[in-house]
C-alpha cells in the first residue's frame, strides 16, 4: 500500500523523547529520570500499514500513547497533518479524535462493564459531534455488522461476549467514526491462535475496503509480516531499523533485528535462518546515554559503538542505526 500513499504524512513523530521522573527521595539531591524514548522519528502516511516491533519495555506503548495524545513528549513534536498535536484545540482537535482511533491489547479492560455495547461503540461519535439517536444507531449497527456481530448486539453488555467478540466490538468502535488511522497496540496478543487469525484477516479486509492507515504494534513478527507494509524496530527507546517489510525479513541490517528474527520460528523449518545466538545476557544492558543502546548485547561491538550514538541512516533500502551495518557479513 505504500506506493499509494500520499506525500503529506498523516501522523509524524519528530525527534520525540519521553522521560519519566523518578520520585525524588528526601535525601537525594538531584532529580533522576528514566528515559523511555530517545529522539524517535516515525512517519505514517495515509493508507499504509506500519509495524512497530520491539521487546517488552522497549517503549512501544509509550510511543503509541504519545501518538494518541494520551501523553505529552518531554522533547520533540508529534504532528497530525502538519499541526503540532500539543497545540491543536477546538474543531481540529475533534477532527483528530475522529481520525485516529486506538485498539488495545486487553479487550476485557477496554470495554466499560457498565455500558451497553451500543454506547461503547458510539462514543467516538458522541464525543465529537451532534448525532441523532437514529444516526448513532445506524452507524453502530453498520460497524457491528462489519466486524461480524449483529446490530442487535448493541443492546447487550460486554460481559455477554467472549474475548474474540469483545475485540471485534473494540474494532467496531474504532471503525465507527470512519478513521484515517487505527493504532493497534498488540490487538491479538491475548487471543487464541484461531481467534488471532480471524481478527488479523478482519483487519486486513477492513484496510483493503476502507483504506485507512494502521500502526500495528507487536512483538509477534509473523503477524507484522502478514499485515504491514513498513516496519520500525524499537530497541530500548530508540529506532534501530526501519525498512519495508519484505526487506526487513529478507535482509535485516541491524544486529538486534537479526536477533529478533532468529528468535522467530517460521512455519517452514527448511526456511529457518541460521541462528545468531544472543551471546550476552540481558543484565547490565541499560544504555548509559552515550553510544549505541544495543552495544552491551551486540556480538559485533567496538569501542566506537560504546562512545558514539549511531544515527538512523539509509542502507541498502533500509534505514539502520548501526556503525557497522556494512561490515557485518550476512
Amino acid at each position: 500500500m505504500s506506493d499509494a500513499a500520499s506525500t503529506t504524512p498523516l501522523l509524524v513523530a519528530d525527534q520525540v523523547s519521553r522521560e519519566f521522573p523518578l520520585s525524588r527521595g528526601l535525601l537525594a539531591g538531584q532529580r533522576r529520570s528514566v528515559s523511555v524514548l530517545r529522539r524517535v522519528d516515525l512517519t505514517i502516511y495515509s493508507g499504509e500499514a506500519v509495524g512497530l516491533v520491539g521487546e517488552s519495555g522497549s517503549g512501544k506503548t509509550t510511543l503509541s500513547r504519545l501518538l494518541l495524545r494520551l501523553d505529552q513528549p518531554t522533547a520533540g513534536d508529534v504532528r497530525f497533518e502538519g499541526a503540532r498535536l500539543a497545540e491543536i484545540a477546538g474543531e481540529p482537535l475533534k477532527n483528530f479524535h475522529r481520525a485516529v482511533q486506538p485498539v488495545f491489547q486487553d479487550p476485557f479492560a477496554a470495554l466499560n462493564p457498565r455500558m451497553r455495547v451500543g454506547r461503547i461503540v458510539s462514543e467516538p461519535l458522541r464525543a465529537n459531534g451532534d448525532y441523532s439517536r437514529a444516526q448513532l444507531d445506524e452507524r453502530v449497527g453498520l460497524a457491528l455488522e462489519r466486524v461480524g456481530l449483529r446490530a442487535v448486539d448493541a443492546a447487550r453488555y460486554a460481559q455477554e461476549f467472549s474475548g474474540g467478540q469483545r475485540q471485534r466490538i473494540a474494532i467496531a468502535r474504532a471503525l465507527v467514526s470512519s478513521p484515517r488511522l487505527i493504532v493497534l497496540d498488540e490487538p491479538v496478543a491475548s487471543q487464541d491462535v484461531s481467534i488471532r487469525a480471524q481478527i488479523l484477516n478482519l483487519l486486513k479486509e477492513l484496510q483493503q475496503e476502507h483504506g485507512m492507515a494502521y500502526l500495528y504494534i507487536s512483538h509477534d513478527l509473523a503477524t507484522v509480516r502478514f499485515l504491514c507494509d513498513r516496519v520500525y524496530v524499537l530497541y530500548q527507546g530508540e529506532i534501530v531499523e526501519h525498512a519495508p517489510v519484505a526487506r526487513l525479513f529478507e535482509n535485516p541490517r541491524h544486529p538486534y533485528t537479526r536477533n529478533l528474527l532468529s528468535a522467530w520460528l517460521p512455519a517452514d523449518p527448511l526456511r529457518a535462518r541460521a541462528q545468531t545466538v544472543d551471546a550476552v545476557r540481558v543484565s547490565d544492558t541499560l544504555p548509559s546515554g552515550a553510544g549505541c543502546a544495543f552495544a552491551p548485547r551486540c556480538p559485533h561491538v567496538t569501542e566506537r559503538c560504546r562512545s558514539e550514538r549511531p544515527d538512523l541512516i539509509p542502507n541498502h533500502g533500509s534505514e539502520v542505526a548501526c556503525h557497522r551495518a556494512d561490515e557485518i557479513a550476512l
Binding site: 494520551l70 479492560a109 477496554a110 466499560n112
Partner: protein
C-alpha cells in the same frame, strides 16, 4: 423504597435483597404512616401510667404494648414517630455527604497531582477535627434544629466518601476504557460521570448504607448533648438518652429504640450489599464468559 422488593426478579432468587428491601419498606411505611399507626400521642403522657412495663410482662397494660416512659408516654408511639426523625436525618445527611464527598474524591483521583494533594489534605484536616466540639460550636451559634444537624453530620461524613471515591477512582482510572474515552476526545467531566462513577457506585452505595447506621448513632450523641434534634421530637437517640437513667429499672425505654437502631443498620447493610450485586452486570451475568 418498595422498588427493589417489587422489581421483577429473574436471575437472583428472592434472597437477601428481597428480605432487606421488605424490611426497609416496612420501616419506611411505619415512619410515613406513624400518625395512623401510633396508638397514643407521642408528646403527651399520662402521669398515672408512668413507667409501665411492656404489656406481656407482670404489671403491663394492654393499652401500652411496649410500655411507657417516665412521663407516661407510650414507647411504641414515640418509636414510630422517632423513625420519621431518625430516618430523615440519616438519609438526608448521607445524601449530602455522599454527593459532596464523592464529587471531591472523583475529581482528586481522576486529575491527581497538586489538586489531589490539596483536596486530600483538606480531607485529613476534616477527619482530624473533633466532631463533637464542632457540632457543639455550630449548635450554640446556629441553635439546634433538624436542618443544622443534617448539615453538621454531612460535614463530618463527606470525608469518608471522598477517600473511598478517590481510591476507587484510582483503580478505575488505569483501566483501558478510560484511555479509550480520552482517545475518543470525551471531556473529563463526562468521563468522570459516564465511566468512573458507574464503576465505583457499588462500593459508595455500600458505604452510604453503612453510614446510615453511623448517622443514627451520631445524631443520638448530638441529641444527648442538647445540640441535636430539639427535645420534644422523639428521635431514637433522644429516646435512648431519656431511658439511660432507668436502664436497670425500666429497660424497655431504651432497649426498644436500641433494637430499632440495630435493625435499621443491619437492614441498610443488607440492602446495600444486595443492591451492589444487582447493579453490577458482571456479577449479574453469573459465570457465562
Amino acid at each position: 423504597m418498595a422498588g427493589p422488593a417489587g422489581a421483577p426478579v429473574k436471575r437472583t432468587a428472592f434472597g437477601q435483597l428481597g428480605i432487606a428491601g421488605s424490611i426497609a419498606a416496612v420501616m419506611v411505611a411505619c415512619a410515613l404512616l406513624a400518625p395512623l399507626l401510633a396508638p397514643h400521642d407521642p408528646y403527651v403522657g399520662m402521669l398515672a401510667d408512668r413507667l409501665l412495663p411492656p404489656s406481656w410482662l407482670d404489671g403491663g397494660d394492654v393499652r401500652y404494648l411496649l410500655g411507657t416512659d417516665i412521663l407516661g408516654r407510650d414507647v411504641l408511639s414515640r418509636l414510630l414517630y422517632g423513625a420519621r426523625v431518625s430516618l430523615l436525618v440519616a438519609v438526608a445527611a448521607v445524601m449530602l455527604a455522599g454527593i459532596v464527598g464523592s464529587t471531591i474524591g472523583i475529581v482528586a483521583g481522576y486529575f491527581g497531582g497538586w489538586l489531589d494533594s490539596v483536596l486530600m489534605r483538606i480531607v485529613d484536616l476534616v477527619v482530624s477535627l473533633p466532631m463533637i466540639l464542632i457540632a457543639l460550636l455550630v449548635g450554640v451559634i446556629a441553635g439546634p434544629s433538624l436542618t443544622n444537624i443534617i448539615i453538621i453530620i454531612g460535614f463530618v461524613l463527606w470525608s469518608q466518601f471522598a477517600r473511598m471515591a478517590r481510591a476507587e477512582t484510582l483503580r478505575v482510572r488505569q483501566l483501558a476504557f478510560i484511555d479509550l474515552a480520552r482517545s475518543a476526545g470525551l471531556a473529563a467531566p463526562r468521563i468522570m460521570l459516564e465511566h468512573v462513577l458507574p464503576n465505583i457506585a457499588g462500593p459508595l452505595l455500600v458505604l452510604a448504607t453503612l453510614q446510615v447506621g453511623t448517622v443514627i448513632i451520631m445524631e443520638a450523641s448530638l441529641s444527648f448533648l442538647g445540640v441535636g434534634v430539639p427535645p420534644p421530637a422523639p428521635a431514637w437517640g433522644t429516646l435512648i438518652a431519656d431511658g439511660r437513667s432507668y436502664v436497670l429499672s425500666a429497660w424497655w425505654i431504651c432497649i426498644f429504640p436500641g433494637l430499632a437502631i440495630i435493625t435499621t443498620v443491619m437492614t441498610a447493610n443488607l440492602l446495600g450489599d444486595g443492591l451492589a450485586d444487582r447493579l453490577d452486570p458482571a456479577r449479574k451475568a453469573g459465570g457465562q464468559s
